[in-house]
């Protein structure tokens, strides 16, 4: 963006403005654009979710306001705005007021590192991935504020559940991404996407693979397992079924949102849906190549870029459109899966959720990290790292061996851990009544 604005103002018009003004203008432009996109995404996703889940339940869904019900979210928004804003008398007013803002702000910040298309990233932070999750953990503070300030037991319970859940599931999410980071050796999201060129085999792994933009990490066993774990963790982070315990309406009404009404409630909703969108987008970016897809790389090679300053801007445009299309298509597909799960699964109980995260997902990600290490050792390392037996293998053979080994490790780990977990769940809660007979007898009258 900086380049474009700079080129427009200083080169085309020749006004020769100082650099910080240009920077300011370009950043304002980008942030404005993102702030416009985020609520729009939320509106569209609510509509999309309601339509999709209605179809799963043999209904049609909202179809009255506007063509095919497309204006329904607008109507909902108008309703939200016109509702009375109620603050409980016993509430901590300032904290109650600030909580929705603290929840929404991080989700907006997370847009900063999301690449939309080739060369279309607001900020290419070299620790982008870490930034994404660091920022996402802030909203837990907002939830806790909401729960504490509402002076409502349901809100407090909901907030404690939400925060415990978010903090717990951040660990498997980050650990599963760590495996992918090990495959590429970078934390920059842009470089992660660029590493996914190729055709089912990443060009980074096996040189000479034709680049159709399909060298996604999902096609590796490590990436597959990491994706599954990450997606489950994303469901928990985004408070989606089967992990929507913080707002389980059948148990604790609306959780931390119980005492919120009007637009403050709307902000929580906004934050949740934007977070869901972002989690889907980041899953698409990291495991499904983001904007990578057939044609984008070819187009972008002919476009203006730092590597190729002489390109044609038409290709910029085409590559951008195609890239954004791929990214959004993948994102919405993931969101559809979220909706699908919501339609198909009951929700877990809070202690089961914790058990699942700590006793199943985290060991699984640890095994996956070992798999990633095997993958890297077999594919990338050579004699200088002390790996000599792969020296004479062809790249494709190396890839094949790495694939087979990691796949075997992951499948065995999955089945074994699932069995162990199931057994531990079955054992849990059993009391040996004979052992505690004396203690327990005292409790009986």
């Amino acid at each position: 963006m900086y380049d474009i604005v700079n080129g427009l103002i200083n080169t085309t018009f020749g006004w020769n403005w100082p650099g910080w003004v240009i920077a300011l203008i370009s950043h304002l432009l980008v942030t404005t654009l993102l702030f416009a996109i985020a609520p729009f995404q939320m509106l569209f996703l609510t509509y999309y979710e309601r339509r999709a889940i209605a179809r799963m339940q043999d209904r049609i869904g909202p179809n009255r306001v506007g063509p095919a019900g497309l204006l329904q979210p607008i109507a909902d928004g108008v309703k939200m705005f016109t509702k009375e804003d109620i603050v409980p008398a016993a509430a901590d007013r300032w904290v109650h007021f600030l909580a929705p803002c603290v929840v929404v702000a991080p989700t907006m910040l997370m847009f900063a590192v999301l690449p939309w298309g080739p060369g279309m990233v607001p900020v290419d932070l070299n620790v982008g991935l870490l930034f994404f999750f660091a920022i996402s953990s802030i909203s837990a503070v907002g939830l806790l504020m909401a729960g504490l300030a509402s002076s409502n037991k349901f809100a407090l319970l909901g907030a404690m559940r939400a925060v415990a859940q978010m903090v717990s599931y951040e660990i498997p999410a980050v650990l599963s991404l760590l495996a992918v980071v090990m495959l590429t050796g970078t934390l920059s999201i842009v470089q992660l996407i660029e590493a996914q060129a190729g055709l089912f085999i990443s060009s980074a792994d096996v040189p000479g693979v034709p680049d159709l933009g399909l060298g996604w990490f999902i096609f590796t066993p490590v990436g597959l397992l990491a994706f599954i774990v990450f997606f489950i963790a994303a469901l928990a982070e985004g408070e989606r079924t089967p992990f929507d315990i913080p707002e389980a309406d059948s148990e604790i009404v609306a959780g931390y949102m119980t005492e919120y009404s009007g637009m403050k409630f709307g902000l929580f909703y906004l934050a949740q849906y934007v977070l869901n969108f972002l989690l889907c987008a980041i899953a698409a970016v990291i495991f499904f190549g983001g904007w990578q897809g057939p044609g984008v790389g070819w187009l972008y090679d002919r476009a203006i870029s730092p590597a190729n300053p002489d390109g044609n801007w038409v290709f910029n445009l085409l590559a951008g459109f195609l890239g954004v299309f791929y990214l959004l298509a993948k994102t919405y597909a993931f969101f559809f899966v979220m909706v699908w799960l919501r339609g198909a699964f009951p929700r877990l109980r809070v202690d089961q959720l914790m058990d699942f995260g700590w006793k199943f997902l985290i060991p699984l990600t640890l095994v996956n990290i070992v798999s990633a290490a095997i993958w890297v050792a077999l594919l990338r390392w050579g004699p200088e790292q002390g790996i000599t037996f792969t020296q004479n293998w062809t790249p494709i053979l190396r890839w094949g061996v790495a694939f087979a080994v990691t796949l075997a490790v992951n499948i065995v780990a999955y089945i074994a851990l699932a069995r162990i977990f199931a057994a531990s769940q079955a054992e849990q809660g059993r009391i040996d009544l004979d052992e505690y007979r004396d203690t327990l007898t005292a409790t009986l009258r």
Binding site: A52, R55, M56, Q57, D58, R59, I60, N63, W340, L341, G343, A344, F345, I415, A418, R419, A422
Partner: protein, 428 residues
């Protein structure tokens, strides 16, 4: 564990045994497959009772499910299309059986003799408390009360849910359309009973009151028949009887015109012209009846939520046959009219009062006055009665029209109601 018992067995349900043999997570995938199937199948309509996929909802206002014949919502009263006679004979069976006791009725009485007639004078059902059990329709020996299929009854006006005979009346053809076979079963018996009842109903009693033209036609028919029958008869009959025999067309028309004029006048001024009490009443009874009717109509117009005053009862009282009674009746009518007019006067002061009430009152007052006046003029009982009925109808119609169209507060709304009333009166 299964244990054989007589005609069956006791089966212990299996607790998800198959899971142990499968990969963990397969149960979840199975569920997702089911949901996917529904999603994929939801782009078509549900085919019917043997289909478990596809959209099964109705797009309600456009698409409506076909209601079965037996469907029951709220009770209605039937009347015969041809004779426009109501089937109800006010046998009080439905009133007695109604579990929430929302049916109320009064039996019609012959004003001439004061004897009960197998017809209903007024019939009220409180739709808001009705539980649609259908007992009334079930017990009715004359098949006069039936259950309607109309279910869109929601209204912002709670009062409208107390339903009177005019709104309850439906022609038989309507019911035949919604429930052909169920009507066919009872049709012959019902019609036979109706024919028997019609014979016992003098004059227009028992005719659906919302069919003014039919009633008028019936009137004329009756009168013509009576004239033809009594023409050769000796004029030495009782004076009251004799008067009845004079040619009636003219008198009726006169009464109608007078009523129309009166209604117009009522439209011009707030204080309706007082009926000239000194005018020579030819027939006391008729005048009195007319006055009472007018009064009822006025009261109804004045306060639509008041329970209906039954016209039949006072009419059935033994009439004092002298001039004083006529005068009294006229004064009563006048008072009623004035009350109604006062109601309309008070309206502009009370800004908060709902718009419909004052709007409905003045036309009714005007019509009532016209009725009172009309009662004094004609020299004939029947004509007076007719005039009263017309006036009453006009008043009611005007009340309805007024509430729809009239401006809410000022007395000027009488103008909008008045012409309507006069039109109706003239038309009839």
């Amino acid at each position: 564990m299964t244990v054989k018992i007589e005609r069956g067995q006791i089966v212990t349900v299996e607790r998800g045994k198959r899971t142990a043999r499968r990969l963990p997570g397969m149960g979840l995938l199975d569920g997702m497959a089911v949901v996917w199937k529904h999603w994929a199948g939801s782009f078509r309509k549900n085919q019917g009772f043997n289909d478990i996929h596809g959209v099964f909802t109705y797009e309600y206002p456009e698409e409506r499910p076909k209601l079965p014949e037996a469907y029951r919502n709220m009770p209605i009263l039937l009347y015969d299309d041809e004779t426009s006679h109501e089937l109800c004979t006010s046998c009080f069976q439905c009133e007695r059986i109604c579990p929430p006791q929302v049916i109320h009725m009064t039996q019609a009485k012959d004003p001439a003799t004061g004897k009960p007639v197998p017809a209903v004078a007024e019939f009220v059902i409180e739709y808001d408390a009705c539980m649609s059990c259908g007992f009334c329709a079930e017990v009715c020996p004359f098949d006069a009360i039936k259950m309607d299929h109309e279910f869109e009854l929601s209204t912002a006006d709670h009062q409208k849910l107390t339903v009177f005979k005019e709104q309850l009346n439906r022609p038989i053809s309507y019911y035949e359309r919604i429930a052909p076979t169920m009507w066919a079963e009872v049709r012959d018996g019902a019609m036979k009973k109706l024919q028997g009842n019609i014979k016992r109903r003098p004059d227009v009693i028992g005719m659906a009151p919302n069919l003014a033209e039919k009633i008028a036609a019936r009137r004329r028919e009756l009168e013509a028949a009576a004239a033809a029958a009594t023409a050769p008869a000796a004029p030495a009959a009782a004076p009251a009887e004799g008067r009845k025999l004079t040619p009636e067309e003219k008198a009726a028309k006169l009464a109608a015109i007078k009523a129309a004029n009166a209604a117009k006048k009522a439209g011009d001024t707030v204080e309706p012209p007082v009926a000239p009490a000194g005018a020579a009443p030819a027939d006391e009874k008729a005048a009195r009846l007319a006055a009472i009717r007018a009064k009822n109509a006025a009261r109804k117009g004045e306060a639509p939520d008041a329970p209906p005053v039954v016209a039949g009862e006072p009419a059935g009282e033994a009439p004092p046959a002298d001039e004083k009674a006529a005068r009294l009746a006229a004064i009563r009518a006048k008072n009623a009219a004035r009350k109604a007019a006062e109601g309309s006067d008070g309206a502009p002061v009370e800004a908060n009062v709902a718009a419909t009430e004052p709007a409905a009152a003045p036309p009714a007052a005007g019509a009532a006055t016209s009725a009172a006046e009309a009662a004094t003029a004609p020299a004939d009982e029947k004509a007076a009665r007719l005039a009263a009925i017309r006036a009453k109808n006009a008043a009611r119609k005007a009340a309805g029209g007024g509430s729809d169209a009239a401006a809410p507060t000022t007395t000027g709304n009488v103008d909008s109601g008045g012409p309507g009333a006069s039109d109706d009166a003239a038309l009839s």
